[in-house]
Symmetry: C3
Subunit: 142 residues, 3 copies
């Protein structure tokens, strides 16, 4: 039984959903040392989120961004508006989508489905560096 | 400290929310060997989801299906529409609900509340087999 | 490698979102014994939820409560209505937000971001005691 925990950053991006599976595998190279396990990716921010979704058609990411704007729109009136009109909807969307994902590891690889990838959802227009804590637990290869 | 990981399938079902607690316990029999632990159930698809919700009244599942249709409706215009009008809303709903649940295990049983069960939410009309990776970690009974 | 699992309760609160980070740390004192690990907090109810969000401005919590009322409103017609008009929307919101959070532990503390805290979201008007199973796994300090 082994543990690995490290923090990495996603470079600043503007509002949108991004496929980051390859970047996660590169930034968390310990994944490949585990025969079986789970990796928890936890974003330390409240106006961005992590999720699993489609990994092939970038239109899905664009449609998701638009859908979240319809579900929790900037046009509503919010008490919390000092940081701009995109701030409070970003907080709402972050709890709808979630701050973390837990993905199984099998034979040194993420056990995701054929059409499934990890997405970073950025809800602010202004670009922020986003920090993620990656915690792996499992059994390493002998 | 022990690990168990296996993949199982849910038989194809049409669009709707389904109570699958008993089916999970049957398909992941290792749960009963753990005195304490966590089971992570991870669906390898992006147009279905897993969640915890009410385990008694099937009306709750029907109302949830209708509510998700209102929150992310088929009637919106999507870029991603080659697979049919129910495809992109399925992707949206899958990230709103989530691809995985993590449930505590206590004394060989899921430590769910009295009225709480595991739901499979299927968002496509056409029936698909759905694969789930079940990963358990914890301490087995001695 | 060590495990800790205990159940604690949140005192009854009326509908709203509440910042409960300090209360969690107090009720799960084992967190401070772990050098590295993960804590899973699992609410055993289907009309309340746990999430991570902003920890400074209580307006964010009030705006979230209002936003969830807009996203899954009481005014819709539901089949499941025997327990009152706030019951079915509570079930919907609980699956949108989620029954559990998994938070990394680093050096005996929750590895949350600067502006990030744990929220209890209570979706019923009538006050209920809410039970949470806290499961920690990790490496303790030597």
């Amino acid at each position: 039984m082994s543990w690995s925990q490290n923090t990495f950053s996603f470079a600043p991006r503007t509002r949108g959903c991004y496929l980051v599976t390859d970047e996660v595998v590169e930034k968390v190279p310990e994944i490949k040392n585990f025969k079986v396990g789970l990796v928890n990716l936890f974003i330390q921010h409240t106006s961005a989120a992590l999720t699993l979704n489609e990994n092939w058609d970038s239109d899905v990411r664009a449609d998701m961004t638009d859908a979240l704007e319809k579900i929790a729109p900037e046009s509503w009136t919010y008490r919390h508006d000092a940081e701009g009109s995109d701030d409070m909807p970003a907080h709402i969307r972050s709890s709808l989508i979630g701050a973390s994902v837990t993905v199984p590891i099998k034979d040194g690889r993420l056990a995701t489905g054929t059409w499934q990838g990890i997405w970073l959802c950025e809800f602010r227009r202004y670009r922020h560096t986003r920090k993620v804590v990656a915690t792996i637990q499992g059994e390493k290869f002998k």
